[in-house]
Amino acid sequence: MEQYLIPILTNILLALVPLVFVLVYALVTIYVEMKMAAHIQNRLAYMRTGWHGVLQPIADMLKLLQKEDTIPTVANKGLFILAPYVVFTGTYAAFAVIPFSSAYVGSNIDLGAFYLLGVSALVVVGILMGGWAANSKWTLYGGVRSAAQVISYEIPSAFVILAVVMVTGSMNFSVISKFQEGGIQNWLILGGAFPLAKKLALIPFMLIMFLIYYVSSMAESNRNPFDLPEAESELVQGYNTEYSGMKFAMFYLAEYANLFIVSAVVTFLFFGGWTSPLGAMASGPWWDAFWFVTKCMVFVVLNIWLRWTLPRFRVDQLMYMSWKVLTPFAIACVLAVGLILVW
């Protein structure tokens, strides 16, 4: 019996590491987002709780924990309570295959990227449940729009992941990262670890695919300019409207966790994952974790910057962009990358 206890406990502890990371990261990112928004808009945000408001996210978390959980009388209780947890589960389960460094990965399966795409689709179900269960026309709009949007934008992202998998030969994120180790010149955005001719041929397609994937990722995480499902001016928070307290905190947390996942995928696919840009220098398990988190935060900050600058798309323009612009380009890139690899 004892020989099973230790491994089980160790595995549970290992599985909780991303949870702790997500909670800390969420607090930090909430603060960064609010402060960036404020400085872009030429105002100061939190200034009172702690020095320049650093304790504000903790205060927000405490507030959400002790807020009253209201459930509308006409709502479908089961679905209403279940929805935020489904969304959070879908997002958190993806953390299992994200290696934070060369020494730590939750689950070293060969199907990494495939599993991630599959599990992220759970988020759609959760949002639809949330929008429908609240029994309000406006939340229904938010839920249905979000489902349509997320499903449409999974297609270009899947094609881009397919192209990178073709280049690196594996769906395992650790292997994809190892493929790009040895310095910044080996990162896939700069062509990968190939002879010069192949590298130069791959670079434009890699750039296009990076843009396609980044745009799709903004749509996947329901962030501006694709935040129609939670368009504050139209739908007063969309599928989120009737939620309060802990359930709202779950949705909120899931949104930030999702943002981290898509930034992590961008980092792995194009920017080397946990490998250091300096090659052999500054590498090792702890350095790897540092590089990985830094690169992800760069993309998170870029996402926040875009959110506060751009207006939002209309539903049909969104769909048009996904099906008639991004998908054809993604397919063309897959074709081109395949030809380059074979040739």
Partner: protein, 386 residues
């Protein structure tokens, strides 16, 4: 009020599917309706088939109150609160009407100061309009930029009459306070500063690709529909009609000042779409800066309180005076029966007629377009409902 139409279709397996249009309520509490307005939408999925506006949630019986005032001057704070975003323009319309009724001549200095204040308030009101329009479309940042600039204007007003939003400044026959000495330098500085900011704002929002896609060819208001529905102001000029009361029916000293009337030309879409109305408002702000600079240059000396009559007891008669407020033609129809109390005061609010056209221009639009159209009409419920 309306019944949604039900259609039945038969699937290939022989079952009948019933599809209904959905009646959904936008408002009275809604972030995008700029006040307590209820828009009843009959929608088929995302496409709006019909819009029925319901107003009256902010009706404050302004006209009934006027009939119980003891004095014509006491109406002025009520008039302020009609269009609370552009209070100076409301007062301007009312005192022009009352002075025409009483046949009072006001000194030149009063006229020029009134023009300066009205144009400053026009800029402030348009800043609210374009800032909140940005939020409706989804860009949160331009709103804050607009409010920073608006703070400078409100500081000017506070310096003069002590109030930031509702002034009670223009009195029949004169003004309540004269300009303090630091007003003119600060106003000139504001004009210099704001010219550059308009360009920055245009780069951020007006010519942004996404904004253009959301507003071009959306909510097209043809010329003849606009005239027939009584639309005025940027709604009418955005449709290409060259009509501005400051030039075509001049009041106060507008005939001594030179500026251009901005008309929509359909630069990025059809003439009369939401983008045209937006660009008309942006360009009107630039023209207002020109008017303010000329008025400051031509400002004579004088006493602003000399001509305020002690007792206002007009002869029996009626007058209708109309002025160009930021939203359009604001008119006051005053009937006097010879006593000190007005017999009837009717405020012709521009947003009232501008809002009535919304059913016409939003057929076939999507819900997101509905928001864009409602934002571009720039309504203030205070004056729609009075």
């Amino acid at each position: 009020m309306t019944e949604s139409t039900t259609t039945q279709t038969t699937t290939s397996s022989g079952r009948t599917l019933r599809t209904e249009e959905m009646i959904i309520n936008m408002g009275p509490q809604h972030p995008a309706t700029h006040g307590v307005l209820r828009l009843e939408l009959v929608v088929d999925g995302e496409i709006v088939q019909e819009v029925i506006p319901h107003i009256g949630y902010l009706h404050r019986c302004f006209e009934k109150h006027c009939e119980h005032m003891t004095n014509y001057q006491q109406v002025i704070p009520y008039v302020d609160r009609m269009d609370y975003c552009a209070a100076m323009n409301n007062e301007f319309a009312y005192v022009v009407a009352a002075e025409r009724l009483l046949k009072i001549e006001v000194p030149e200095r009063v006229q020029y100061i009134r023009v300066i204040m009205a144009e400053l308030n026009r800029i402030a009101s348009h800043l609210i309009a374009v800032g909140t329009y940005g939020i409706d479309i989804g860009a949160f940042t331009p709103f804050l930029y607009c409010f920073i600039d608006r703070e400078m204007i409100l500081d000017l007003f506070e310096m003069t009459c002590g109030a930031r939003l509702l002034y009670n400044y223009m009195w029949i026959g004169g003004l309540s306070h004269d300009l303090p000495p630091e007003f003119i330098p600060k106003a000139k500085e504001f004009c210099r500063y704001y010219k550059k900011r308009i360009e920055e704002f245009n780069n951020l929002l007006t010519f942004n690709e996404i904004f253009v896609k959301r507003t071009a060819s959306v909510g097209v208001l043809p010329k003849d529909v606009a005239t027939n529905y009584g639309c005025t102001g940027p709604m009418l000029r955005g449709s290409g009609v060259d009509w501005d009361l400051r030039r075509d029916d001049p009041y106060s000293v507008y005939n001594k000042i030179e500026w251009d009337v901005c008309v929509g030309k359909g630069e990025v879409g059809t003439v009369g779409d939401c983008w045209d109305r937006h660009i008309v408002r942006m360009r009107e702000m630039e023209q207002s800066l020109r008017i303010i600079e000329q008025a400051i240059a031509q400002l004579p000396e004088g006493n602003v309180q000399a001509a305020i009559p002690k007792r206002i007891r007009p002869n029996p008669g009626e007058v209708y005076a109309r002025t160009e407020s930021p939203r359009g033609e604001l008119g006051f129809y005053i009937v006097s029966d010879g006593t000190a109390t007005p017999y009837r005061v009717k405020g012709r609010a521009p947003a009232f007629s501008n809002l009535s056209v919304i059913g016409e221009i939003s057929r076939g639009a999507m819900i997101a377009d509905m928001i864009a159209i409602a934002g571009s009409t720039d309504i203030v419920l205070g004056e729609v409902d009075r």
